[in-house]
Symmetry: C2
Subunit: 121 residues, 2 copies
Amino acid sequence: MTSRTRQPGDAFTHAADVAIEDLGGGIRRQILGFGATIMSCRLWFDSGAVGTVHQHPHAQTTYIESGRFTARVGSTVREVGAGDCVYITPDTDHGISCIDAGSLIDNFSPMRADFLNPGEA
Amino acid sequence: MTSRTRQPGDAFTHAADVAIEDLGGGIRRQILGFGATIMSCRLWFDSGAVGTVHQHPHAQTTYIESGRFTARVGSTVREVGAGDCVYITPDTDHGISCIDAGSLIDNFSPMRADFLNPGEA
């Protein structure tokens, strides 16, 4: 099963059944559970990988599962590590740079339809 | 700082600064980042701890960070472990029982105001 064919509302996502997408630049993403109003994804960053500053209308939390990162939200930059969390207000510039390789859980509201159908807003 | 005094919209949540609440029955909870439309929490379960079946109007994803659990959503029961995820449609019965001690990341939309102000809906 690949994430491209998944539909919102499935109750159970077993990690072994879901494709891990290589986003390039040392970043990989696996789409986990989602419905219309929420979506969770797991991301892996290599050391030095950069999630460039961007914004979107979705609210977001990012839970740092492992590794060490420099996170920017608006004009504030902080170092975060395992157990920390970042909250991003809709339409706010944010980005993250990986110091030590690790993984993140990104959660969005509403769901990121653009992750399922690249090219759509 | 305790989670009771926290306000929505803080960009950075450093785990060391936030209280871990003992919910009893072998379950502890730490409120992480949140705004009006999304909230993330980390929960620790001892082996044998039971999150009893309940429902709420918030959509939810639960990411299994570690450990082994039996999760119920509606009438479906499945065993889940590290890396797996559960999605719960609003107003749907769900519960989780811990087989091997571990931690979960619960994400809600909208935020759980009742976690900040116990007694409120």
